[in-house]
């Protein structure tokens, strides 16, 4: 990749069809390094499907995904991760029967480190995120707020260029949301990665995101700076309005 031009992760006119059902239609979106882009929309709007496309879990039926100008058609999920695109999952999906430290360490060894080196990096990261006290606990026994943090740590090891977060704040209290917001802000500041944030909580979205992309029924409804999108008539009607 060209070092002079910061790479970007882009969906270009991506459509996905599941047995005739169109989950997303012609969606284009670009995530730059160093920015936080919000991806919002009602349930079933196609947000997770789009993230799946951007991380190699779903091959677009039409359109394509580019990373720093490279076409990614033949890439599987592991290839995306090796190229610097990391993600979390809506349901957490930790390795339940493994320790928290091992959960994070997996990313290191999968990307080529020795166990010893991966373990050291994982410990440092858990320290940095303030969850070192859980290192030797089984991941399956964590409360969900800490589970989310471990999921983020797992994605964050080895400094990915892009981090895709699928509803990291779902079910959290206001206080917990604030802590998460602070964490994401620090991640952007200190790691410099581009972050795509799927989130229903508008306070979190408006507090964090530079730009927002709105999906509805699989189509792009609006996109632009957070403050503009917030006042967009169509968005208010379709989405924000529905929430009150």
């Amino acid at each position: 990749m060209n070092a002079a031009v910061p790479p970007s992760l882009a969906a270009e006119a991506v459509s996905v069809t599941f047995d005739g059902l169109r989950a997303i239609s012609g969606v284009s979106l670009t995530l730059e390094k160093g920015e936080i882009l919000g991806l919002i929309g009602p349930n079933g709007a196609g947000k997770t499907t789009l993230v799946n496309c951007l991380s190699g879990f779903q091959l677009p039926t039409e359109g394509r995904v580019r990373l720093g100008g490279q076409d990614t058609v033949r890439w599987d999920a592991a290839a995306f991760r090796k190229a610097g695109v990391a993600r979390t999952f809506q349901g957490g999906r930790l390795f339940r029967d493994m320790s928290v430290l091992d959960n994070v360490e997996v990313t290191g060894v999968a990307l080529g480190l020795s166990r010893r080196a991966a373990q050291r990096k994982a410990s440092e990261l858990l320290d940095w995120m303030g969850i070192a006290q859980f290192a030797h606990q089984l991941a399956g026994t964590l409360p969900y707020t800490d589970e989310r943090r471990v999921g983020i740590a797992r994605a964050l090891l080895m400094k990915p260029d892009f981090l895709l977060l699928d509803e990291p704040a779902a079910g959290m209290s206001d206080h917990e949301c604030e802590q998460l917001t602070a964490l994401i802000r620090i991640i952007r500041l200190e790691q410099g990665c581009g972050i795509l944030l799927i989130e229903h909580n508008m306070a979190v979205v408006l507090g964090l995101c530079d730009r927002v992309h709105v999906l509805d029924g699989g189509r792009t409804l609006a996109q632009g700076r957070a403050a503009e999108v917030r006042n967009d008539r169509a968005v208010i009607d379709a989405y924000l309005g529905a929430e009150g």
């Binding site: 991380s55 190699g56 879990f57 599987d76 999920a77 592991a78 991760r81 090796k82 990391a86 993600r87 999952f89 999906r93 930790l94 390795f95 339940r96 029967d97 493994m98 320790s99 091992d102 959960n103 360490e105 997996v106 990313t107 060894v109 999968a110 990307l111 020795s114 166990r115 991966a118 030797h136 797992r154 994605a155």
Partner: protein, 305 residues
């Protein structure tokens, strides 16, 4: 005792794949069979003149060789490990349940092949005169070796990635794990260990038959792994000890015990029924096996971190 060391090797071999990958395999006894015959091909017979009569289909070089047992064991490991690697690389393209079913076809296919490949395996007739090298010391040594290899694999990066794929296949891919690769490696390694177990069996009984490597051993070894707990290496070993004790006891009851003047004997076949009952009870009261995924700990030295 010697017989138990063979079972430890077999069940530890199963553990390497099944325990770490979470995919049940019904086909691993195939590699035990391949190992036993590889041992015969290299090290048979105690009366060398018999070999061409037994196995006229073997290449002439092999018909004339009767190398010492260590060479036979090495051949068993190499041939079983090699075939497991190749077969695994194909089967591991399938997902968990489909892969399990495919391993069953592997067992049936390998059994049918060896049963009918008369010139090379002797077909349905048993091959006697296989050199007997096993005693409890050699058995123990080999069993310790198998446990050590399994432990090293467990601790290695490949073991770690494999367990990640077991717990959450989707998330493991997102962490960059090549699921097919780590499963194939474990399949090959566990096949290799099973092959050594097959050679041990051959060199213990001095006789080899295709029927000795089919459903009975498959069921017994899987039962041992599951009863002990497939979640840990200690579970594999504990399962062997526990079920060996149970079957030994049932066998005594089948022969009959004297109570005063009366001879009390269980009906024949009760050994198998009893084994099934024990397994069901363990599954009901301890679904993750006796060890429940934990490792035995000795002071500060723990097998599993």
């Amino acid at each position: 005792m010697t017989e138990m060391t063979i079972r430890v090797v077999l069940v530890v071999g199963l553990y390497v794949f099944i325990g770490n990958s979470g995919i049940l395999s019904f086909g691993h006894v195939s590699f035990m069979s391949i190992g036993a015959y590889a041992f015969v091909w290299i090290s048979c017979c105690t009366l060398p003149a018999l070999k061409p009569l037994y196995l006229p289909g073997l290449p002439i070089v092999l018909q004339e060789t009767a190398l010492p047992s260590p060479a036979g064991i090495a051949a068993a490991a190499a041939l079983a490990g090699g075939s497991a690697l190749v077969i695994g690389s194909i089967l591991m393209r399938l997902s968990g349940t489909a892969a399990s079913i495919a391993t069953f076809s592997l067992l049936a296919g390998q059994y049918a092949l060896f049963r009918n490949w008369t010139g090379v395996t002797g077909g349905t007739s048993s091959l006697a005169n296989v050199p007997v090298f096993m005693n409890s010391a050699i058995g123990t040594l080999l069993a310790i070796g198998a446990v050590l290899i399994a432990w090293l694999h467990h601790q290695s990066r490949y073991g770690l990635m494999l367990r990640a794929a077991r717990d959450e296949q989707t998330a493991s891919k997102a962490s960059g794990v090549n699921v097919w690769l780590v499963r194939t490696i474990a399949f090959g390694l566990s096949g290799l260990i099973m092959g050594v177990g097959g050679a041990m069996q051959a060199g213990f009984l001095g006789i080899v038959t295709v029927d000795a490597f089919y459903l009975d051993v498959t069921f017994l070894t899987l039962a041992m792994l599951i009863v002990g707990g497939s979640g840990s290496l200690s579970g594999a070993v504990v399962g062997v000890i526990a079920l060996t004790a149970v079957t030994e006891m049932l066998r005594r009851f089948e022969v009959g015990i004297h109570l005063g003047d009366a001879l009390l004997a269980l009906p024949r076949g009760f050994q198998e029924v009893g084994l099934g009952i024990v397994m069901i009870l363990v599954m009901i009261f301890r679904p993750a096996g006796i060890m429940n995924g934990r490792e035995l700990t000795v002071g500060h030295f723990r097998l599993k971190r």
